[in-house]
Amino acid sequence: MKRRDWIALLSVAVAVLLIGIGTWGYREYQLRKTVMIDAENHYQQAYHELTYYVDSLEESLGMALAMQSRESMRPQLVETWRLSTLAHAAANELPLTLLPFNRTNEFLAHVGEFTYNSGVKAIKDRSLTNNEYKNLRELYSESQKIRDELRSVQSKVMAEHLRWMDVETALKSQNENRDNQVIDGMKRINMQATDYTDSFSPENPRNAVLEKKRINPITGEQISRNQAISQLRKWIDRPDAKLKKISETGKGSYIPAYEITLSEHGRSLNAAVTRKGGHVVWFLRERSIQKEKFNLYEASQKSIAFLKKHQFKDLELTKRNKYNNIAAFTYVLRKKNIRFYPASIKVKIALDNGEILGFDQSDYLYNKRDYIPMKPAISEDEARKQLNHDLKVQETGLAVIQNQSLNNVLCYEFYATRDNDTYRVLLNAKSGDQEKIELLKE
């Protein structure tokens, strides 16, 4: 009797529990489904937007080709520039996981750069050069290929109800050879754009292959690990610093180097020393900083002394930042009254005891700085005409900068003020084109 009651009670309890779990589980499932659908819709939207914008972009490039002069082409180029940005944004909303739209994005970036340079930035009605026209044609034919591929993936996705969420799962799971139409489609697009980028050399400075060519040749002899360590110790003036770790950089690094970690009084110092020549590329100390005792000027004197000690010459302080009791200074090379912005060195000073916390000369060491015409083609007055008359020019000079396409160009540099705002305007000293304009915040 008693036992039967127990059993009855227990089975009721189990039944209630089961129903409870069931309801809860169903609710969770429903919730999950909604979230999944939301995510899926988001991906779908991004993909359809991407195809739409690439479609319009192709059309717009085609229309630009119909025009003769830069002035008549300009509206189309500007429109293409706008579309490339939108397409780029849409592409970046798709899952990146390990199978990126890298190459598609790269193509879009080239379109953006080209249309900006030739349609927006170029002043006056200089007619389009043959090279520009050729590039435009190349971009147009490439955009057609990319559009076709995107469209074919789109129709496959629609016809077979493929889901982006599955792509993500497929990418995450190790099973890479799973048959997945979307992935296959994407792979093909990426491959094609690779061919394109390889062929598109003149205006493609960010291409990794070319990037290597832009690196200054490093001078000096090959050094061993031990030589690198003692070189670093000498450089930071700490012969007693203990070695914690040393390794060589892989083939992905700009320049083969040793990565070294030293320990000085329990704090660690990280640094990189080139294998050729044994140049200390950068080092960085980490510690907590106490109360500020040095002011910015005193810290700058420390950094100058440090640079002098290491035989750096012709440097000019161009940037200073003060934050969290730290001062960071940027020096650039100045020769024959021309500033070389790409050749810069950074020094970080602790304001509690004036110690050098960090040093970085990678830009100074690596950036190529020859083959730049040092004579401006237009006069300063000519360049100055482009500035608004309300601007009061405070300082003028010549400077070499690396522009958006990573080319070194000679510019007139104007520091000018309007009310309480300070601008820096860099105008190409050859063509008068506006290379960069900044509203300085410091």
């Binding site: 991906y43 780029h88 944004a89 970046n92 909303e93 899952p95 990146l96 996981t97 390990l98 199978l99 739209f101 890298n102 994005n105 790269e106 879009l108 970036a109 750069e113 993500e168 990418l171 995450k172 190790q174 890479e176 960010r206 390794s247 060589e248 892989g250 083939k251 992905g252 690094s253 700009y254 320049i255 180097a257 990565e259 970690t261 660690s268 990280n270 990189a272 950068w282 960085l284 980490e286 002011n295 910015l296 000027y297 005193e298 200073r320 930042n321 003060k322 934050y323 969290n324 940027t330 950074k346 970080k348 970085d360 405070q394 003020t417 309480n420 900044e438 300085l440 915040k441 410091e442």
Partner: protein, 277 residues
């Protein structure tokens, strides 16, 4: 805060009395002041430059470009070396040419008033008192309070906003809080390298929130509160230190599942992560 204020006012009073005694307000410390500096010396510099109408901006104790041009123009007019730094000669010339009412200037700064300090204009006409007591202003008063007596110069590198830095610190902390400091700088550098690379979005937040880009974003760890180390690492990376040689990806070799990531050219291993391009 209150105590500090009282102490500050006392110090000002004493200084004012002392300067009245010597007859010459010589409050500049003997340190050289340069662009980027903050503090009382800068306040005095700005006030003195405004007294003779060279400086028209706000007297806020932050030596920015506005003060810099004013000082350079002063130096050129007075036959000094034009270097935009307030050294001894410049300070002496300034002291001779101007009058500095420290009590007036410091009081207005501490009270957070809007004021100017032009010579020859009665001082009481140059202050716009903060309206107090009326409804709705209380909130404003409390907002501007942190600025009182504490000079900040928003010295973030050009192109980065405060929220960019915070968001990056969040991501770096979520991704690599167990890593050594240099590993955290490296992760920050990867974010910056991606912004610069045409294959990735061109701003910080889009890079961080790109679907699947960072595990800390996918699993929500990005919303942990970052510590100071992460923030420091981010600032070092923003200021140009890149231990990764321009790497765009990194992964933990113990947990990485994809063959693709192993095919990338590697730069090196920092902490637990392998960095690659």
């Amino acid at each position: 805060m209150g105590k500090r204020l009282i102490r500050g006012i006392c110090a000002i009073l004493i200084a004012a009395i002392m300067s009245a005694h010597t007859g010459e307000a010589n409050a500049f410390s003997n340190r050289v002041i340069m662009r980027g500096d903050t503090g009382d010396d800068v306040v005095e510099l700005q006030a003195r430059l405004q007294y003779i109408s060279y400086y028209k901006g706000k007297i806020d104790g932050s030596f920015g470009y506005g003060t810099y041009w004013a000082l350079r123009n002063f130096q050129s007019q007075y036959g000094l070396t034009i270097d935009g730094m307030a050294g001894n000669d410049t300070k002496q010339k300034l002291i001779k040419a101007t009058h500095y009412d420290q009590a007036f200037v410091m009081r207005n700064i501490n009270e957070g008033n809007e004021f100017t300090y032009y010579g020859g204009v009665p001082l009481d006409q140059q202050v716009k008192k903060k309206t107090q007591g009326s409804s709705g202003t209380e909130k404003n008063a409390s907002q501007s309070k942190p600025a009182q007596g504490k000079y900040t110069i928003d010295n973030l590198p050009q192109g980065y906003s405060r929220s960019d830095v915070n968001l990056m610190a969040n991501a770096v902390y979520g991704e690599s809080r167990g890593e050594p400091y240099i590993g955290q700088v490296a992760v920050s550098a990867v974010i910056i390298n991606r912004v610069a690379d045409p294959r990735f979005p061109n701003n910080i937040s889009d890079v961080i929130f790109q679907p699947g880009a960072f595990t800390a974003v996918s699993d929500g760890q990005i919303w942990l509160t970052p510590n100071d180390t992460a923030k420091k690492a981010v600032l070092d990376a923003i200021n140009g230190w890149d231990p990764t040689n321009g790497a765009l990806y990194y992964f933990n070799p113990d947990t990485a599942t994809s063959a693709w990531i192993w095919s990338r050219p590697q730069v090196g291993k920092i902490g637990k992560h392998i960095f690659c391009k």
